[in-house]
């Protein structure tokens, strides 16, 4: 049996209200895998019609979803189904009631490579976030008291605690 090849798109969903703001957006996404799948399918139907919906039905799935980091890994069959799905992603502007923007971070041939990419990316971002917890003199200040830590987190994320 010939192997069925897929392509995995690692996509970040950014809230339009928090794009290009100087603080971190840490609120988790209020959407399930089904909501994301439906939003992409509806847009596919709008752009590519019945043919687009039909071609991508077999094999299109949400394989990974992390609400906290708002990362989704979408799978589709290699070739035309994946091209149709990838060309639809820039036009997905809302999931449920939230207004979002899709950014394709990586396209992998196997789910293993997509997760390897994610791991490297998360480690890099974690280092950048740790930099924000340095004191004004540039010294590492990870061991803070609780009130100090709360204040710093509020500064960086602008959350209301």
């Amino acid at each position: 049996m010939v192997r069925r090849k897929h392509r995995y798109a690692v996509v970040q969903l950014e809230r339009t209200s928090s794009i290009a703001l100087p603080y971190l957006d840490v609120k988790p996404l209020k959407a399930s895998e089904d909501d994301i799948f439906k939003a992409v399918k509806i847009k596919l139907g709008e752009l590519h019609g019945d043919y687009g919906r039909a071609v991508t039905t077999l094999g299109m799935r949400v394989k990974y979803l992390n609400e906290a980091t708002r990362i989704v890994v979408l799978r589709a069959r290699q070739g035309e189904p994946f091209k149709m799905m990838a060309s639809t992603l820039p036009f997905v502007t809302s999931i449920g009631a939230e207004s979002i923007q899709c950014t394709t971070l990586y396209i992998a041939g196997t789910i293993r490579h997509s997760l390897i990419f994610l791991e490297k990316r998360q480690k890099r971002i974690f280092k950048q976030v740790l930099e924000m917890f340095k004191s004004d003199k540039g010294q590492k200040k990870y061991k803070m008291s609780e009130p100090e830590l709360k204040e710093r987190i509020l500064q960086i994320t602008k959350l209301e605690m």
């Binding site: 091209k83 820039p90 036009f91 502007t93 394709t104």
Partner: protein, 286 residues
């Protein structure tokens, strides 16, 4: 002289000015290496002294072309960008919406136009574009603006003439995201371009007046599927073609048969006599 632009977005409108810096930073954060700030001038708003008094819309009326908008990024903003090895490039671009060659009178008098890096035109009709190409005026980009070019139809001869004059075409994707009608019209236009010239030489730029309509280069390249282009053409539209456009613009500004000699590396040239001068020859093609 740096001529390799990397991933480029050659149309970030200067208006609205309040959000210009946010849009430029967002584009650079999404992965673009080069960005061009676009100033748009409509021929209908260009008047001489006598006509200015009777102009209906006095706010947008002008007697000459404006100076390019300059934007500088602070060190803190540069540090927030993902690519720390290369400094981003910010170019300036002028787009002229015209219906008749009369705008050349204002263009030839103006000193400000020489300060722009790129020059784009938007013709109202195919006749106006043909007449412009018969004159000695040279430009870099023909921007496909659906609202202004309603009566326009592309034919093979005109398409090839534009490519032959070292200019390229440009389509904007930002409005396609927000407006379904614009999306359909753009796809129809792409089909027309495919019939006329197999979608050769088409750039994809944002034309985004809001930050939320900017997309990373990989996603823009994937729009080739909708716009009757091949996958390779889609990738070229964001990577190779902007570099070609910029090189052609440099040649246009320099004029014909000029040679530029530039010392590439002073340290190497002083130690090695044979390679004393780094020759960086640039001349206008044709």
């Amino acid at each position: 002289m740096k001529t390799e632009l990397g991933h480029a977005d050659l149309n970030i409108p200067a208006e609205p000015k309040k959000t210009l810096k946010d849009r430029v930073l967002r584009a650079l954060q999404l992965g673009y290496q080069t960005v061009a700030i676009n100033t748009v001038v409509n021929q209908e708003n260009l008047f001489n002294k006598k006509q200015m008094k009777n102009a209906k819309d006095k706010e947008s009326a002008m007697m000459s072309f404006p100076e390019p908008v300059k934007l500088e990024l602070t060190d803190a903003e540069l540090k927030s960008l993902p690519n720390q090895t290369k400094k981003p490039t910010i170019l300036s671009r002028l787009t002229i919406l015209f219906f008749h060659n009369d705008f050349l009178i204002h263009y030839n008098k103006s000193e400000a136009v020489k300060n722009y890096d790129l020059l784009a035109v938007v013709p109202k009709t195919s006749l106006s574009l043909l007449n412009l190409m018969k004159s000695s005026f040279k430009f870099d980009i023909v921007s496909l603006n659906l609202d202004y070019m309603e009566e326009f139809r592309w034919h093979r001869k005109l398409y090839r003439e534009v490519l032959g004059s070292h200019a390229h075409f440009e389509m904007n994707y930002a409005e396609m995201i927000s407006n379904r009608d614009v999306r359909r019209r753009n796809i129809t236009l792409a089909q027309n371009m495919f019939w006329a010239g197999k979608c050769k030489g088409i750039l994809l730029s944002s034309g985004a007046s809001r930050t939320i309509y900017l997309r990373p280069p990989a996603d823009v390249a994937n729009l080739s599927m909708l716009l009757a282009m091949t996958e390779a053409q889609g990738k070229e539209a964001v990577l190779n073609l902007p570099t070609l456009v910029y090189k052609a613009a440099l040649g246009r500004k320099m004029g014909t048969f000029r040679v530029r000699v530039e010392v590439v590396n002073k340290e190497e040239s002083s130690s090695d006599e044979e390679e004393e001068e780094g020759m960086d020859v640039e001349q206008e093609i044709g």
